[in-house]
C-alpha cells in the first residue's frame, strides 16, 4: 500500500487539480502545471481524473513498489523504466511488488505526471492534496519528495480503464509554433504603444528562473513607460502600482526588463504593473516549456481566448470517452 522513494528526482511533488478558493488570503490554487496531462495519466490507470499523482520536473524519481499497481506517465517525454526495462509514455503498464520504477533522460517538455492506480493518499488540506512549496502546505509534508519517504497509496479503483493508451492525436501535441496567446489589458496603459508592439514582436527566451510560481523570460527589448507622477502608495519606479491581485497567467515586467508569467503557485498579488494575461488554454503548455526555449507572445481578443478554451474542452471530452 506504499511506494518508497529511492531517489527523489530534481523536484518531485504530489499534485492534483489544486485548491481554488483561498487566493484572497494569499494561498494559490497550486495543482498540476499541465492539468490535461494529469487528467490523462489518472484516466489511464482507472483513477478519477482529479486524483493526486506525482509531478516530476526535468528528471524522474526512482520508486520501489510494495504491491501490484497500474502506472501511467504523461506530459513531458520522460521515458519510464520498470526494473530497467523501457515502457511507453501515455500508456498504462503494470508494476509488480518489489519492482522499481525509474526514468530515462528527458526527451521533450518539462513536467511528467506519474499516476498510480489508487492515487497518492496524502491528507486533504483545504480540499486538495496539491503541494504548495512556498507555504509548506499540502502534498507530502508540505515539501518535495526526499529519499526514504514512504508514500501511502489509495485503494485501487474498481474501474478497469477502457483503453490503456492515449492515441497520438489526443496527446499534448507540440504546438507548431511556440506562441503564447495573450489577452492584453490590466495595466497595459502604463507602457507606450511602441513598447507594446515591441513586446509582441520580439523573440523571448525562457530564463533558468522558471518554476511553479512563474516563468521568467529574457531577450526582448526593455519596455518604455508612459511618464507619470507616481500615485500615492505606488512606489517610485515607473513599473510600480499600488499592490493589487495578480491573475493566474498575468504577465508582470518589473522595471520593464524581464517578463514573468505567473503560474499555479502564483504570488497572489504585488506592486508590479501587468500588461495582459496568457489565456487559460495556453497555461498547460507554459508548464512544459524548458529553459532557453524561444517563444513569441501574440495578442488575441476574448472571442479567440474562448474559442481556444472550447478546443481544449473538446479534446478533454474525446479523451474521457476514449478512456472511460
Amino acid at each position: 500500500m506504499v511506494i518508497e522513494v529511492i531517489k527523489p528526482g530534481l523536484r518531485t511533488t504530489v499534485q492534483d487539480l489544486g485548491r481554488p478558493g483561498y487566493h484572497h488570503l494569499g494561498i494559490p490554487m497550486s495543482g498540476a502545471m499541465d492539468r490535461y496531462a494529469l487528467r490523462a495519466a489518472n484516466l489511464l490507470v482507472g483513477n478519477n481524473e482529479e486524483d493526486a499523482a506525482l509531478e516530476a520536473v526535468f528528471a524522474g524519481p526512482e520508486l520501489s513498489f510494495t504491491d501490484r499497481r497500474l502506472v501511467a506517465v504523461t506530459g513531458a517525454e520522460l521515458p519510464p523504466k520498470v526494473d530497467g526495462e523501457l515502457r511507453q509514455t501515455w500508456e498504462a503498464f503494470i508494476v509488480e511488488p518489489g519492482q522499481i520504477l525509474s526514468f530515462d533522460f528527458l526527451k521533450k517538455g518539462a513536467r511528467a505526471y506519474i499516476a498510480i492506480s489508487g492515487g497518492i493518499d496524502v491528507p486533504l488540506v483545504l480540499g486538495s492534496r496539491a503541494t504548495y512549496l512556498l507555504g509548506g502546505l499540502g502534498g507530502f509534508q508540505g515539501r518535495g519528495l526526499a529519499t526514504e519517504d514512504r508514500l501511502q497509496l489509495g485503494q485501487s479503483m474498481a474501474r478497469t480503464p477502457k483503453s490503456t493508451s492515449v492515441p497520438e492525436d489526443l496527446r499534448r501535441a507540440d504546438p507548431g509554433e511556440p506562441v503564447l496567446r495573450v489577452l492584453p489589458g490590466l495595466y497595459a496603459h502604463r507602457i507606450t504603444e511602441e513598447a507594446a508592439r515591441g513586446f509582441y514582436e520580439d523573440v523571448w527566451k525562457v530564463a533558468p528562473e522558471a518554476d511553479r510560481v512563474g516563468y521568467r523570460f529574457r531577450g526582448g527589448r526593455p519596455l518604455q513607460f508612459v511618464p507619470r507622477k507616481p500615485p500615492f502608495g505606488a512606489g517610485s519606479d515607473p513599473s510600480n502600482i499600488v499592490d493589487a491581485p495578480y491573475p493566474y497567467g498575468s504577465i508582470q515586467v518589473p522595471a520593464g526588463t524581464e517578463p514573468i508569467v505567473l503560474h499555479r503557485d502564483a504570488i497572489s498579488g504585488g506592486g508590479y504593473f501587468t500588461l495582459g494575461t496568457v489565456i487559460s488554454a495556453d497555461m498547460d503548455f507554459v508548464g512544459q516549456m524548458q529553459p532557453n526555449q524561444k517563444i513569441h507572445f501574440t495578442p488575441v481578443d476574448m472571442n479567440a481566448a474562448l474559442a481556444a478554451r472550447r478546443v481544449e474542452a473538446e479534446r478533454l471530452e474525446r479523451l474521457r470517452s476514449h478512456c472511460v
Binding site: 484572497h24 504548495y132 502546505l137 489577452l183 490590466l186 505606488a234 499592490d243 497572489s268 487559460s280
Partner: protein, 290 residues
C-alpha cells in the same frame, strides 16, 4: 467610475483608484461584498485588495461580458453607501530593532539605499523623525487597517489610519534580499506587512513579532480553526515590546490557552475622516476594554 479590465478569460480586475486611500479600499470591499451577496453563478473567487479588487470566474458558466456588465451595475448601486464595517482590532506585539532582524539587514547593506544606516534609521530620517524612538512611536501609536491579504500565504498589507500628511512612506530595497526572518514586521511604500515565513523580500525591516500569522500545521491556539490570522478589514495595533517580553511571549504562544488580545468593533469611515486622532483614541480604548 472605477477602471475595469479582463485578466485573461478567467479574471476581472477593478481598479477603484490609482492611488491608495481608505476610501478606495472601502469602495473595493463594498463591491466585493455586494458581488458575494448577489451569488452570481460562475464567480469562483472574490479578492478585495488595497485600492482594487479581482474576481475569478468560469467562462463556461457565464459570458465574460455579461459578468462585467453585472459588476458595473453592482458598483453603480453600491456607490454612495455609508462605508462602515463590523470588524475587530487585534494587538500585535513587536520587538522593534531586534537582533535577528538587525543581523539579517546587515548582510544586505549592498542592496540598500543607505548602506551606513539600519532600515529603521533610514526610515526615521527620510520621514523627518528626530530619532528611531520617535519613528517607532509613530509606527506603533496609531492603528493600521488590513487592506489586502496576499503576496504570500496570509501576509497582510496594512495601511495606517492617520491623516494623509502623517503617512509614513519608504521605498523598497534597491535590490530585493534573499532572506528575511520569519514574522518580520516590515514596510514598503505606505504599507506595513508581516512576513509569514522566512524568505526573500524587499520591504524595510523594523522588527519581529513573536505571534505566528500563518500556521499550516494549525497547532497555534488561535490558528486551530483556520491557518491564517488576518482578513481584509481587520484593524491592527502594533505594541512595542522588549527582549524579556519577547522571550516570554515566544513560550506563551506555544500554550494551548494562549489568545491574542482582540476586540470586536465597528468602524465608520465618515466618522474617522472627520476626526482621525479622536476616532483612533476610541478604537484603542475599545482594545483595552473601555
Amino acid at each position: 467610475m472605477a477602471r475595469y479590465s479582463f485578466g485573461g478569460d478567467e479574471h476581472i480586475a477593478v481598479e477603484m483608484d490609482e492611488a491608495m486611500s481608505l476610501r478606495a479600499f472601502f469602495g473595493a470591499l463594498s463591491i466585493c461584498n455586494a458581488v458575494r451577496d448577489s451569488k452570481i453563478p460562475g464567480v469562483t473567487e472574490i479578492c478585495p485588495a488595497n485600492a482594487s479588487l479581482q474576481l475569478r470566474f468560469d467562462p463556461d458558466l457565464i459570458e465574460p461580458d455579461d459578468l462585467m456588465r453585472e459588476v458595473k451595475q453592482i458598483e453603480a448601486s453600491a456607490s454612495g453607501q455609508k462605508q462602515a464595517l463590523t470588524t475587530r482590532i487585534i494587538e500585535i506585539p513587536v520587538y522593534y530593532d531586534d537582533p535577528w532582524t538587525r543581523e539579517t539587514l546587515m548582510r544586505f547593506r549592498d542592496r540598500h539605499q543607505d548602506p551606513d544606516a539600519t532600515d529603521l534609521e533610514y526610515a526615521a530620517r527620510i520621514n523627518n523623525y528626530a530619532s528611531v524612538n520617535d519613528f517607532i512611536a509613530a509606527h506603533s501609536g496609531s492603528p493600521w487597517l488590513v487592506s489586502m491579504v496576499g503576496f504570500g500565504a496570509g501576509s497582510p498589507f496594512t495601511f495606517q489610519m492617520v491623516e494623509h500628511e502623517k503617512q509614513i512612506q519608504v521605498p523598497k530595497y534597491v535590490r530585493p534580499r534573499t532572506d528575511t526572518p520569519k514574522q518580520c514586521v516590515a514596510q514598503g511604500g505606505c504599507f506595513t506587512g508581516i512576513y509569514p515565513v522566512r524568505g526573500a523580500g524587499g520591504y524595510q525591516m523594523y522588527g519581529i513579532t513573536p505571534t505566528p500569522i500563518y500556521d499550516p500545521t494549525q497547532t497555534t491556539s488561535y490558528l486551530r480553526e483556520f491557518m491564517i490570522l488576518f482578513r481584509p478589514g481587520d484593524i491592527v495595533k502594533f505594541r512595542g515590546i522588549g527582549r524579556d517580553e519577547y522571550d516570554s511571549l515566544v513560550e506563551d504562544v506555544k500554550k494551548e490557552d494562549f489568545f491574542l488580545k482582540q476586540r470586536a468593533i465597528s468602524f465608520s469611515l465618515d466618522e474617522f475622516e472627520q476626526a482621525p486622532a479622536f476616532y483612533n483614541r476610541q478604537v484603542l480604548e475599545a482594545l483595552d476594554g473601555h
